[in-house]
């Protein structure tokens, strides 16, 4: 379950970038060698958990209970690692390795994603509290996508880490939570699955790329994002909308449960339709039937947009 080779890989990744930053590597090596097998087990569990969270089912909504339990496990591990200082050591070590852009340890991919942070954040000892405002992505790459999408910079590569990229997985983290924030987006809000699928798709794509090389992403963000049409709707709930659906569970269309603080991009497509629905005003409970006819219109429009 925990082969000895694990430790070897862990050290190997540190020994590779020999050229530069040797001092950093020395201290990192020393720190790494101090890791006991318990820490390795813990690390392996952390990696496994992160991978589980990143691989989401694209067709069917992911199981919320399972995601919550995995995220709680990750949080627990991170808290423990923060307490015994392992977290900072690992973060620094991986940053050094990352800087040389040669880290190819498969097992550490997820953690790497986790720890990939800006130059500015490298020196930090204190876990950064999770930023509420700003992109809240699950893995850092998802964060990237959202920011990139929001910025509408199609040519950006996956490996570019924007200065705003929050260190989603720092301890004391709420960084795990947006994982089902994504799902929440998929469930609760009218955010399209395309966003999830891109994030998930590029999540696994991202891992593949990192396995090969950390350097330039050969795919353009456009390929990654695909037919990314539906952006995140406005964070504030539309009171007229809520009134219309008040007799149904309003949270079904509760727009404020979308990732709070998501940078919003102009709404398109069905969301325009939803807005027009809201102008119908409240009606007694034939609203469920009017919902259905409006949803049929929605289907029609979706087909046109998606071009199916």
């Amino acid at each position: 379950m925990f082969p000895k080779g694990t430790k070897r890989k862990f050290s190997d990744s540190r020994e590779e970038p020999v050229a530069g930053g040797e001092d950093v590597n020395q201290s990192s090596l020393a720190a790494v060698r101090m890791l006991s097998s318990y820490s390795l087990q813990r690390q392996s569990l952390l990696d496994m958990s992160l991978i589980k969270l990143q691989l989401c089912h694209m067709l069917v909504e992911p199981n919320l209970c399972r995601s919550v339990l995995i995220a709680n496990t990750v949080r627990q591990i991170q808290e423990e690692m923060t307490q015994d200082g392992t977290w900072q050591i690992m973060t620094q070590a991986l940053s050094a390795a990352n800087a040389a852009a040669q880290c190819s340890a498969d097992r550490l991919v997820a953690t790497e994603v986790l720890c990939r942070q800006t130059e500015a954040a490298q020196g930090e000892q204190v876990p950064k509290p999770f930023p509420v405002v700003g992109s809240e992505g699950c893995p850092a790459e998802e964060v990237l996508e959202e920011e990139e999408a929001a910025a509408a910079e199609v040519g950006m590569t996956m490996s570019t880490v924007s200065p705003q990229a929050p260190t989603s997985y720092l301890p004391g983290t709420f960084g795990m939570d947006p994982c089902w924030e994504e799902e929440e987006t998929g469930e609760d809000d009218d955010d399209d699955e395309e966003e999830d699928s891109e994030e998930c798709g590029s999540g696994s794509e991202g891992e593949e790329r990192e396995r090969d090389s950390l350097v330039e992403d050969t795919r353009t963000a456009e390929q990654v994002f695909g037919t990314f049409e539906i952006k995140n709707p406005a964070p504030s709930p539309d009171p007229a909308l809520e009134e219309l659906f008040s007799d149904v569970d309003a949270s079904y269309y509760d727009l404020d449960t979308v990732l709070t603080g998501m940078q919003s991009v102009p709404k398109m497509g069905p969301y325009d339709l939803l807005e027009s629905l809201s102008s119908h005003g409240p009606s007694p409970l034939s609203s469920s039937t009017s919902c259905r006819s409006d949803l049929n219109e929605l289907d029609h429009i979706m087909e046109i947009i998606v071009g199916s």
């Binding site: 379950m1 087990q41 813990r42 569990l45 496994m48 589980k52 067709l59 069917v60 909504e61 199981n63 919320l64 209970c65 399972r66 919550v68 339990l69 995220a71 709680n72 496990t73 627990q76 591990i77 999770f130 509420v132 809240e136 709420f174 939570d177 947006p178 089902w180 924030e181 929440e184 998929g186 469930e187 609760d188 009218d190 955010d191 399209d192 699955e193 395309e194 699928s197 007799d247 149904v248 569970d249 949270s251 079904y252 449960t257 709070t260 069905p270 409970l285 469920s288 919902c291 949803l295 929605l298 289907d299 979706m302």
Partner: protein, 447 residues
């Protein structure tokens, strides 16, 4: 009612198995729920393909009084279809998560079946007569020319072959954002509750366009979500009381008389954690997968990953009984986490007299515990032991180094063969066990 096992005069034996024998199991055929009705005459199963199959208990043969009648197919219908949520571009599975029978009030039978999003009330009725001798149409249904009718007659009811019809009477939709995990009919026979991961709604059986939200644990900021609802049930005789369990191993009992929104519980059941057995998996294995009231309403039973606990409703700080289902898995939790088996949701059930409880395990094993004698037994639902009235042999998993003959070692267990759904006849010693796509029916051997 007889106990579980151990006594010389009580043994379980095979009765029937339903379902295909193929090695290749179609995903749609996997049974996802099993439920006896209140008399035990009908046994309903739901599968991943959205179908419901109802079996009916045949009358005992007069010339074989020792033999209970068999369960034969009574009705089959497609309850739910796969749907596509266009707004979120996600599929809605047609898998039947739960079936609950309504108490019978007339000759027809009613049941509630639910998938992730929609609950449906089905009426299963029999038709064994039809009217003949209409004035306006022929026997084959063609309309008669009114001018040719010279005399009137009164239609007569003639017997016909029994026809069982299932028709959807109500559709309760659009009330759940998250996946429905439980439905429970209230003892008032007028309302029922449905629970998803974060909310519980109360419905009236006659009203489909409105439901009352009675529990909402969704945090304002979804980042703070750490706990979800895993199961809920109405109290069997107090129509104002219900319980719901959580992924953190807690059970909350709520009284609907206290407030419209029962976010604050009346009772809170949680067993203090044993600090010596704490691990990274502690929370996951404490997550409750099923909660069931006893028929008496005095106790409730919860199933977490490794154990079944019986709680006295009057004592909140710990269960009164704890039964280990497969403690030998405790050392394998990491592997089970890796292959996701640790997230399997096992159900549990009481027998009719509340003297015994049953739950499933892996390798097609299921376990029964006698609360009075404290004896337990492990049995297997397999084709090998499927000879008519063959007595089931108790199985044992070897935990130590030495494996005795007939024992199976932990590493040989097939974790793909899991028994998640079991049901116990409300009055007799008849049990239904769902093993992937097969439904096994076992009964006690009457000596």
């Amino acid at each position: 009612m007889a106990g579980v096992a151990g006594g010389n005069d009580f043994q379980w034996c095979f009765s029937q198995v339903k379902g295909a024998i193929d090695e290749d199991v179609a995903e749609a055929d996997i049974i996802s729920t099993v439920e006896f009705n209140h008399s035990g005459e009908l046994l309903a199963t739901g599968d991943k393909g959205g179908r419901v199959v109802i079996f009916q208990h045949e009358q005992e043969c007069k010339n074989r009084p020792n033999l209970r009648g068999e369960y034969n197919v009574y009705s089959t219908f497609q309850s739910h279809e796969p749907e596509f949520d266009y707004l979120k571009s996600l599929e809605i599975e047609e898998k039947i998560n739960k079936i609950r029978w309504l108490p019978q009030q007339n000759s027809a039978h009613f049941l509630l079946s639910t998938n992730d999003k929609t609950i449906k009330l089905w009426k299963i009725g029999e038709r064994d007569k039809r009217a003949e001798g209409y004035n306006l149409k022929d026997e084959d249904g063609r309309l008669r020319d009114p001018f040719r009718i010279t005399s009137l007659r009164v239609p007569v009811l003639m017997p016909m072959d029994l026809m069982v019809e299932a028709s959807p009477r109500r559709v309760f939709a659009n009330a759940h954002t998250y996946h429905i995990n439980s439905i429970s009919v209230n003892s008032d026979h007028q309302t029922y509750l449905s629970a998803d991961d974060l909310r519980i709604n109360l419905w009236h059986l006659e009203i489909t366009d409105r439901s009352f939200n009675i529990v909402d644990i969704k945090p304002a900021n979804m980042e703070e979500l750490t706990e979800v609802i895993t199961a809920a049930e109405c109290h069997p005789n107090q129509c104002n009381v219900f319980v719901y369990s959580s992924s953190k191993g807690t059970i909350r009992l709520c009284d609907m008389r206290t407030a419209a929104l029962c976010d604050s519980h009346t009772k809170f059941f949680e067993e203090p954690e044993d600090p010596s057995s704490r691990s990274f998996f502690s929370e996951i294995i404490s997550s409750i997968s099923d909660v069931k009231f006893s028929h008496s309403g005095r106790y409730m039973m919860t199933r977490d990953y490794l154990s079944v606990k019986v709680w006295d409703l009057n004592m909140e700080n710990r269960p009164v009984e704890t039964y280990q289902v497969h403690e030998y898995l405790r050392s394998k939790l990491c592997s089970l986490y890796e292959n996701d088996c640790i997230f399997d949701k096992f159900e549990c059930c009481w027998n009719g007299s509340d003297s015994a409880i049953m739950t499933g395990s892996y390798n097609n094993f299921f376990r029964m515990f006698d609360r009075n004698t404290r004896k337990d037994i492990t049995l297997e639902a397999s084709r090998e032991s499927s000879k008519p009235r063959a007595t089931l042999k108790p199985r044992k998993v070897s935990t130590g180094g030495k494996r005795k003959k007939d024992e199976i070692s932990v590493d040989s267990l097939d974790f793909n063969k899991k028994i998640l759904h079991t049901a116990w006849h409300p009055k007799e010693n008849v049990i239904a066990v769902a093993a992937t796509n097969n439904l096994y029916i076992f009964q006690d051997k009457i000596n």
